[in-house]
Symmetry: C2
Subunit: 383 residues, 2 copies
């Protein structure tokens, strides 16, 4: 077992990962600036359940499990804080979730875009330098996104591609062309990390994650106050989570445009498996390992139909509404990502079954009185 | 003729371009924060000749030619200044040189790297947003660098490449893998520009320039106080300019490593031609035109031999010294960049002849008493 520092430990994935790795015996520290909570408040996009603050959640988790998670609160754009957290926690691995994660927020206006660019790049940059200066062997595990690749007309490889051109060949980063500024900041992160990996021999794993769905993990099922922040709004809600809340609250599922947009999806509990595998399987010095972290692909229409099917069976009257697409994206396109790297490391994928959909709908139903329909319709348009 | 705003107008290229375009009849405004002057002072890397400040140079230029160049002084990382300059100058084209341009400085330490990342990305970002908000038809002419591509084992196309993969194909940005953080910030600039071009239909030309050499242009030859800042130090000096000063001052030419590094070079007067062509040939809305701005390629050894040859003939005793390479780069590699785009637009390239070398040596010789040999040896190592 090892020491793991999680940047962005208050988030949907950050907090779930912290508990999961702590329960597996790792010594876990977390740090967060509550940026997402602040933006959620500013944009009327609060999560469905009440989430106690990070220290309180760590206290609740310890009171149940007797396992400690060390908590730091502060902004990692401040290099002094980054240094302090790094030297206090002496991590073997750092999991980097500390980014402004909303595509629509990043497309709202200059100020939101600037905040996204500054926060995401500066945090990644400070992390790189803390590692260079304090422990170049520390394994950086960075959450990328499948959205970095966009929707190319060729198969999406796992981060790299061999290009044959005019009789010669070389290996390059797989081309990236993202659909929002948020996703583009992750492209910039990749460029920065790859530069410092090849220049100073750092060790980096980049997990190219698709949209995640799910609420309950082994640890959060012990106490609802341990649930991750679950967003169903247009700003922070990922599509499956949004549709589930809409199905419960009799709001027609908000399919953007034709609904032919295909993406690779992942259950929250698979994210936890993937992170555990990444921590356990370090990379060599000077290696940037890139893994596509998806279990299966669906069109938005397929997702809507699946959720309608289960919702209707449970007595909801689920409708589907095709809205004008607020995003600039192709609505009918080729999409074939390779995603065998994590399976080779031992991932056992969870597929989106009717039972899983039903269990999520039941959980959300408990909180149905807290749903605010005003949070559902898209409020940012960049098409 | 049109209105042209030049960001970074105090620089080697910026000031030369300002005079050149003004002389051709364009209405030229320039803006600069004197960042390069500040860094040069901090790092003991001042230019060979004394360069009056920007307003003074504009006054001298007007007193000789009766042509005005409007001067703004300030930091374009401040969005209010960017907006003010943009609305005051109402440009048809913006030429963006306003970046921290030194690779070694960007590799010195955390603070220098952070300054380079923040300055370069924020200026580009603010420029993009000023254009989006005030005049999306404004043509952005961005100085990229051939260094963005690195030294791939395939031919370097002009910015884009068609990739055939597993029986399918698509067109992508040509892969980039730069050799310094400075060059990497230009890769990030490209990613940002391409994102906003395809999302909001901006018009961008990216000029991928090789190392530039030269001192005198048609305008600066009128008065030495109009000369561009000419650097021969390890921080800001490009390789040919450095070698010329070394030849004059009996310092052995500082070849880094084996000297097999091949790059594409360009005379300063060709840069002026290229910028004039870019201004005259606007791109369509939603187009990112990328042009490789080089005239010819040389290895460092070939450059050293050429300069030694001419220098010896002029009575200098030029020696060549292979230093341990302070940079992380291949010293023997394939290099074949396509560079026909600018020729198709009308560029008539200037080649590095013995006469041109001799003329530069003569000009530098006038200033030989100002040469400080302490500025010549590499002071930043990232190999």
């Amino acid at each position: 077992m090892s020491r793991v520092l999680i940047l962005g430990g208050d988030g949907y994935l950050g907090w779930s990962t912290a508990m999961s790795l702590a329960a597996k015996g790792h010594e876990v520290s977390v740090v967060d600036s509550y940026l997402r909570r602040k933006i959620a408040k500013q944009t009327d996009s609060e999560a469905l359940m009440v989430n106690p603050d990070l220290q309180e959640r760590a206290n609740i988790f310890r009171s149940i499990t007797n396992i400690s998670i060390e908590v730091f609160i502060g902004d990692l754009c401040d290099m002094e804080l980054m240094q302090r957290v790094f030297t206090a926690s002496t991590p073997d691995s750092i999991i980097h979730y500390a980014e402004q994660p909303s595509a629509p927020y990043s497309m709202r206006d200059y100020a939101s875009a600037r905040l996204t660019l500054d926060n995401n790049l500066t945090t990644t940059f400070n992390l790189i330098w803390a590692v260079i200066e304090h422990n170049p062997d520390c394994h950086i595990i960075k959450l990328g996104t499948m959205g970095e690749y966009g929707t190319p007309n060729i198969d999406i490889e796992e981060g790299w591609i061999e290009i044959n051109h005019k009789g010669r060949s070389d290996k390059f980063l797989f081309p990236r062309a993202a659909g929002s500024l948020y996703h583009t900041t992750k492209v910039l992160d990749t460029d920065l990390l790859w530069f410092y990996v090849r220049t100073y021999g750092l060790r980096v794993t980049d997990l190219m994650q698709g949209p995640v769905y799910g609420i309950t993990t082994r640890e959060s099922s012990m106490d609802d106050r341990l649930l991750p922040n679950f967003h169903y709004d247009d700003i922070f809600g990922t599509v499956i989570n949004r549709f589930l809340v809409q199905a419960i609250s009799d709001v027609p599922l908000t399919v953007y445009g034709k609904g032919g947009q295909t993406r690779g999806y992942l259950n929250l509990i698979d994210t936890l498996q993937c992170l555990e595998l990444a921590v356990a399987n370090r990379v060599n010095a000077g290696e940037l390992r890139i893994l596509n972290q998806v279990a299966e692909t669906f069109t938005v229409n397929e997702l809507a139909a699946k959720i309608k099917n289960v919702g209707d069976r449970m007595g909801h009257r689920v409708q589907i509404n095709h809205l004008p697409n607020p995003r600039k994206e192709m609505e009918d396109h080729y999409y074939n990502p390779v995603h065998t790297g994590l399976i080779d490391l031992g991932l056992s994928p969870t597929y989106l079954s009717d039972d899983i959909i039903a269990a999520m709908l039941e959980k959300i139903n408990i909180y149905r009185n807290r749903i605010d329909p005003d949070k559902i319709m898209p409020r940012v348009n960049w098409n």
